[in-house]
Symmetry: C2
Subunit: 309 residues, 2 copies
């Protein structure tokens, strides 16, 4: 079976994963907004730790309505933009299409399947350092593994094929049957590092090697683990220390929220903070420190918007 | 009885309260460091909401050893500097002197009386907006009440006299018999506003009128009230809402920690955060949000010192 892929959002994540699929001769259709004219004319450049490559004439579109119906839709937007999916997706879906949300945060698959009740939905977390450095230009610095899990629908066969396609394209994929656990495990890293790099205006290494913030990162991670477990996620006892070790070895890094903040784009506070706090609270668990970080981020976001206007 | 006063530290607090005493013809001896030469030559200027005045030749000293023995020593240093009191105080104390710490934070009276075991010690909180705006130049914007309470020693009579002297000088004084309560009540305001104005780079009004940080300020205040009560402080149920109302009416203000931060002076993290957290923990109460704020402040302080070097 030859799958047709749609890539919605061609920033660091979408450009990278769509680019790898296209390079290994899968049929990939990219939806672009601001970069459309540039990529139409100049193609897509991927500078990757796995080897640089150039796609000279990828299939690019300015409007979803111009795209063909696809089997797999990789949503690589910021969750802030998910409200546009309602109008954007219908014309590119057939009855067996699967929509995979390659995004951060919690509660996003439910939101989508509440709107598209008959569509197969899956979620994916990307363990990768990748950034769009210019129009049609992606810099892939480190890692790359995708972890994919079904949320709803009869899509196991197609997800197996997606995994094979990525593996053939040189991207490691883990197929999981526990989306809830992979989402919470991702939050264990995302909640402390995304928020604190913004609030304290610092990169991951500074936070990890300072005694006070190292303790705080660990406190926050433990709080997320506790909340996740109460919400049914399976997270091992050694997970927090593994995340700290991994971060120590990483090249100093600005997580996506810090990049958004610095570029004055909206931050993913709702899906990365507000939703997990709310979901844990419904199970009777108060994420006190996470909530404090959320309140600080809301203040920063509110006052930043004021500056913009 | 005519009391002799020593003022140790003549910044916004010491300059103001010593200035008012001197203006109403009490015997006041000021210990100055960097401003000594300026004040010796030009005197002390107080621009006060209660009326401006100038002291043309106050008794000023560069070294404590040159000062006379005094009955009342008002310590108006930042608590960061309290380590110098060990060497500074002995020459100005007689056996009935009382040392009053007009400072912020918790545990400071105990620290002092552990060193000076036979000396009477009291604590005071100043409810005042006052700043040193230049050498020998104090700007007193709002409020002014001192609340004084004994920590140890046979000093009730002398404290009554101190209260009378201040009242005669135009400064409102409350004498309390519960130092623990006045220290914790002061922290209810100090803990949220001092730390958050530094971490979020904002003034008191911005934090109070933004929805997210208003909630956070209230959460932190409630945590301090809970901790204080567990440590024996008497704080009324309406105290938090009173503090919020009061702050809403205040002229937008940068608390002392923010002024210290902006001037690259050390911040009073130890006495305002670390000591209360530790004292509450000894009673079995974890100040989770306060601790998070302390960790953020430690990071800021650590990285700021790095910039300085």
């Amino acid at each position: 079976m030859q799958l047709k892929y749609a890539i919605i959002g061609s920033g660091g994540i979408g450009g990278l994963y769509g680019g790898f699929l296209a390079k290994s001769e899968h049929e990939v259709h990219f939806l672009l907004r601001s970069d459309y004219d540039f990529v139409k004319q100049n193609g897509l450049q991927i500078d990757s730790v796995k080897g640089d490559f150039h796609l000279s004439s990828p299939n690019v579109y300015k409007e979803a309505s111009a795209m063909p119906v696809c089997d797999v839709v990789l949503v690589c937007l910021k969750t802030i933009q998910n409200k546009i999916l309602k109008d954007l997706l219908p014309s590119i879906l057939h009855k067996n299409s699967v929509v995979i949300l390659v995004q951060n945060g919690l509660g996003i698959e439910k939101e989508l399947s509440d709107i598209f009740t008959n569509v197969s939905v899956a979620g994916a977390t990307a363990f990768v350092c990748t950034t769009k450095v210019g129009p049609g230009h992606i810099h892939h610095a480190e890692y790359g593994t995708l972890t994919i899990a079904k949320y709803c629908g009869d899509c196991d066969m197609i997800l197996n094929q997606v995994a094979d396609d990525f593996i053939n394209a040189g991207i490691q994929v883990n197929l999981s049957d526990d989306l809830n656990s992979i989402r919470w495990k991702k939050l264990v890293w995302n909640i402390p590092y995304n928020g604190l790099t913004v609030v304290l205006n610092a990169a991951t290494d500074e936070l990890t090697f300072n005694t006070a913030t190292r303790s705080l990162v660990i406190d926050l991670m433990n709080e997320v683990v506790d909340a996740g477990r109460i919400c049914g996620a399976k997270i091992s006892d050694s997970f927090v220390s593994k995340m700290i070790e991994m971060t120590e070895k990483m090249t100093p890094y600005s997580p996506s929220m810090r990049l958004d903040y610095e570029a004055r784009r909206p931050m993913e506070i709702q899906t990365m903070y507000t939703n997990p706090i709310k979901i844990a609270k419904e199970k009777g668990f108060e994420m006190k420190k996470t909530q404090m970080l959320e309140q600080q981020l809301r203040f920063i976001s509110d006052t930043q918007q004021t500056v913009k206007e």
